[in-house]
Symmetry: C2
Subunit: 330 residues, 2 copies
């Protein structure tokens, strides 16, 4: 480019990188030379100077989970408009893999990270990333400064859903969700308990199952619960993989929803909308959450925001469908 | 590192990069110094020398489609073990966005690309990437040399599925799929036609709908077809988004599967397994396909394979479930 524009290499470099100390004439010369050559600024070479790669790492439990792919889609669409690409790493709930992927992403100089860390490992990983001075957004995790957080009001949503079941007359209500060491598991259990406490009804502690956000755990608990003579009259699945684990057990035992028991699921996916009967859900807007994650990063990367982390909270709403009815007398 | 190991910088660099012309003693010195310093090789600086970024770009219609996220998951799991990360770009079937994302990925020196290009744009995009000398794997697309291809035997699968419907006695069978300019659409239509031709039954050309692989198209065709007095007795959805568009129409019209019409879907996802009745599908192993894509890239990137592109073909199988029955007399 410098040869074609008949300018010093330093001048061309300053012009391409948008520095001020370049005369308008030189800038125009560079622009014409760039056009004529079809030159694309080499992002790699530029990265080494600026220490910026214009990539954002998204470390996710499992990108095949539709909630996480929806966040990836919405975040990527927002980031892409600002010239950032999204690098995806799957951890499948294995803390050691999470740590490895964070390390790999930091070694290749990602500009920022989106994290939903596993349990207690989280704070440490976020602190490590923050030490390197790159922005971190924690998704649905209470996180140490200076990470930004995007949280969901799980407590309110589950509390409303369980209040609705109590109003219908249910008392033997079970909840299946992830570990209490993860915000979503802890908050959903909290919402479950509060609904009982508000009505002065004892919390059925023996029907609270906190394990992992996996199909396997959903299936395992469903097999225990649905074979009991005193089967619960309603089950809250605190996470869509748990519902996906429960439904095959329902079919295998030839049970019917809501005739044999009512079901509510946290989060709305194709299967909750299209199942017969459609499943009552605690819904949140995952696309809006994905956009918010990207916007928080862009504010820090390009907008100059610095300082303490901010938290954006997203509401949940209960969407009533055909999977709930009053419990059978008995 | 060089100072700590008391060696020349060139020696350290050669040792870190695994060159042969370094003495075992020097290599050991470097290893110890690296350990003591907690040094992580700076992938970015190394990238500029090697022109390698150890990233693979995956350009995908929509990562929220479970087939594509399954490919991403399987490919990432395989690539990650070899030190590569997966960068994802969504195009949502917009050819201009596809072109932009390929450009953005090439500008940032991805080492390889995984592409399922849109229609006729494809050959051109693959040629452009190949000109830059980076490996390209085309996913379910017939592609120009030297790209490698991972293809699915859609013709066989749909032919078997439609033969099964013909055996059950169906004649007014509809197919809804994507454009004939895309391999999957073209091949599924071909399989549909062959099943009729083999039995000497005329192909119901008025029931062949080739549009886009989207829910919107599935819904639009379902609304036309299911409101007709001479409703087809069976519908083949050539792509899961088309089934996801059809099912809400079935529910809105209060129709029952298979009593009112039979359904077969190409590809097996949660909804086809868990729907009541479960949906008969033409299945392929998307995880195996994702792994194959990654392996083809690794062979070229790290294994030294060069030369003309190779094609790996994956079979399909029909999985019979409750969504098909003989047509009602009439």
């Amino acid at each position: 480019v410098a040869r074609a524009a008949d300018l010093a290499i330093g001048t061309v470099s300053r012009a391409l990188n948008g520095h001020d100390n370049v005369s308008p004439e030189a800038r125009e010369k560079v622009r014409k030379a760039v056009e004529a050559l079809g030159y694309q600024p080499d992002i790699l070479a530029r990265s080494l100077r600026t220490r910026r790669t214009r990539t954002v790492g998204y470390i996710v439990r499992d990108i095949t989970n539709p909630l996480f792919s929806t966040v990836a889609y919405a975040a990527e669409a927002t980031l892409e408009r600002r010239g950032y690409s999204l690098v995806v790493g799957n951890t499948f709930d294995r803390p050691e893999r999470e740590r490895e992927i964070v390390g790999a992403f930091l070694s290749r100089n990602v500009d920022a990270l989106i994290l939903s860390p596993n349990e207690d490992e989280g704070a440490d990983i976020i602190a490590k990333a923050s030490d390197l001075g790159i922005p971190v957004v924690a998704l649905d995790r209470e996180s140490p400064q200076p990470a930004d957080c995007v949280m969901t009001e799980h407590v309110d949503g589950v509390k409303s859903a369980v209040s609705y079941l109590l109003e219908l007359g249910h008392r033997r209500i079970a909840i299946i969700t992830g570990s209490a060491a993860v915000f979503a598991g802890r908050a959903r259990l909290e919402g479950f308990r509060r609904a009982f406490q508000e009505r002065g009804v004892p919390v059925p502690e023996d029907l609270c199952f906190l394990g992992t956000f996996t199909r396997e755990y959903g299936q395992q608990v469903a097999e225990r619960l649905l074979n009991r003579p005193d089967r619960p009259t309603a089950i809250v699945c605190g996470g869509t993989p748990l519902l996906l684990g429960l439904l095959p057990v329902v079919h295998a035992l030839n049970l019917s929803i809501p005739e044999d028991f009512s079901v509510i699921c946290c989060d709305d996916i194709d299967i909750t909308r299209l199942y017969r009967p459609p499943i009552t859900v605690v819904r949140r807007d995952m696309s809006a959450i994905g956009r918010a994650v990207a916007e928080l990063l862009i504010e820090r990367l390009d907008g100059g925001r610095s300082g303490p982390g901010v938290t954006r909270r997203f509401p949940t709403e209960v969407v009533l469908r055909g999977s709930c009815s009053a419990p059978k007398a008995g």
